[in-house]
Symmetry: C2
Subunit: 222 residues, 2 copies
């Protein structure tokens, strides 16, 4: 069976889970304790990050962007990258925006400081980093709201990898209670639509031991 090696609060793993779900591709989910640096895992992905996808034919694919491009090429029926060159350019620009810019400016700061640091016994959260993360989240929510208002989905008329990349980052922040959805109605409405898709359901039932999400996390009508 196809296997996705993942961690429940990894946004890149979540993006791939959503892509597999939207394409209705069945897969088994396996937690990988990357910090143990398992030899067989390193052989598949020397960067030792999650996610990694393995296919029954032995193909192992590392890096969430590489996995999503692969999925769109190997299972093209439902495209998540778009049809025309212009659509595809816009989807990829935004997917890179959320995977890269949003993650660096917001998710890494908040999730690392408020969750991973204590988990890994690396001392107390850095208040300045947390402040910066919250500060950076504001313009990102505005941009998200602006995109959601100007288009049916973030990159254009159809749901795409851009929506999945954005929702993956935000769902992790939402799990740790860091998103105030009242600040932008268009962003909230967009997230409600993504959240109600069948592919999103498994993410809403994920639980990390010792970390309880706020009540609205799994609520479709938040």
């Amino acid at each position: 069976m196809r296997i996705l090696y993942h961690l429940p609060l990894s946004p890149y793993s979540r993006k791939v889970r959503l892509a597999l779900g939207e394409k209705r591709i069945p897969f088994d989910l396996r937690s990988e304790r990357i910090w143990e640096r398992r030899e067989a895992y390193l052989a598949m992905n020397p960067a030792c990050t999650v996610p990694v996808l393995t296919e029954d034919n032995g193909l192992a694919i590392a890096d969430s962007a590489a996995i999503c491009e692969y999925l769109d090429e190997a299972y093209p029926e439902v495209t998540l990258i778009g049809r025309t060159l212009a659509e595809r350019a816009e989807v990829r620009r935004l997917a890179c925006w959320f995977d890269g810019k949003f993650s660096t400016e917001v998710t890494r700061l908040l999730v690392y400081e408020r969750h991973l640091k204590s988990l890994m016994g690396r001392g107390n959260p850095d208040a300045a980093a947390i402040r910066a993360g919250y500060q950076n989240l504001k313009p990102h929510m505005e941009y998200l709201g602006w995109l959601a208002e100007s288009r049916a989905w973030l990159a254009g008329p159809n749901l795409s990898l851009a929506d999945l990349a954005a929702a993956a980052q935000l769902s992790v922040l939402d799990y740790i209670g860091d998103v105030d959805w009242s600040v932008n109605e268009a962003a909230r409405e967009w997230y409600a639509r993504v959240k109600s898709r069948p592919a999103f359901r498994p993410l809403l039932t994920d639980r990390v031991s010792g970390l309880t999400p706020p009540p609205h996390y799994a609520d479709l009508d938040f």
Copy 2:
């Protein structure tokens, strides 16, 4: 005419210049002072990073990964991503490795601390960051050498985006004199091969005012 907005020491711009060169696609190069946040530029790329590629038909593409995927789709004669699904997965894994991991662990630390910081008047270089950058470069050179030894090119039998992404990062470090090529013979031999390609020539004649590269920078026989 097709225009690439770039900066001479931007590794992501260099990667796209190499891709255009390998595909023999003509283009004009334009320096973009991203720190001035030009309105027409922000409209094409709200992240306000280089590179951005514009086509004569009005299409503007932001993000170097999105540009390279676009180029392989729009001008498929010379492929830089590979033919089979397995080849394409490996090329993309490695391109993401150099664009992401290598850049974060090495290029950003060294180029920012040793060059950009003084340029932007942000004070003295941080010795600890520079030390970390040099330290991280070692295992990366080993991995590069190992790939170069096991395969004709980094991702397999053919030159690919993986080679261009790696060479783009290394050429910027080489310009500021930060690569000791004597530490790994296979890596040096691979770089000599990339460097001697016609697509590489324009990068070797680039000069940034106030910053002279070491004599070996433009030497094909270093």
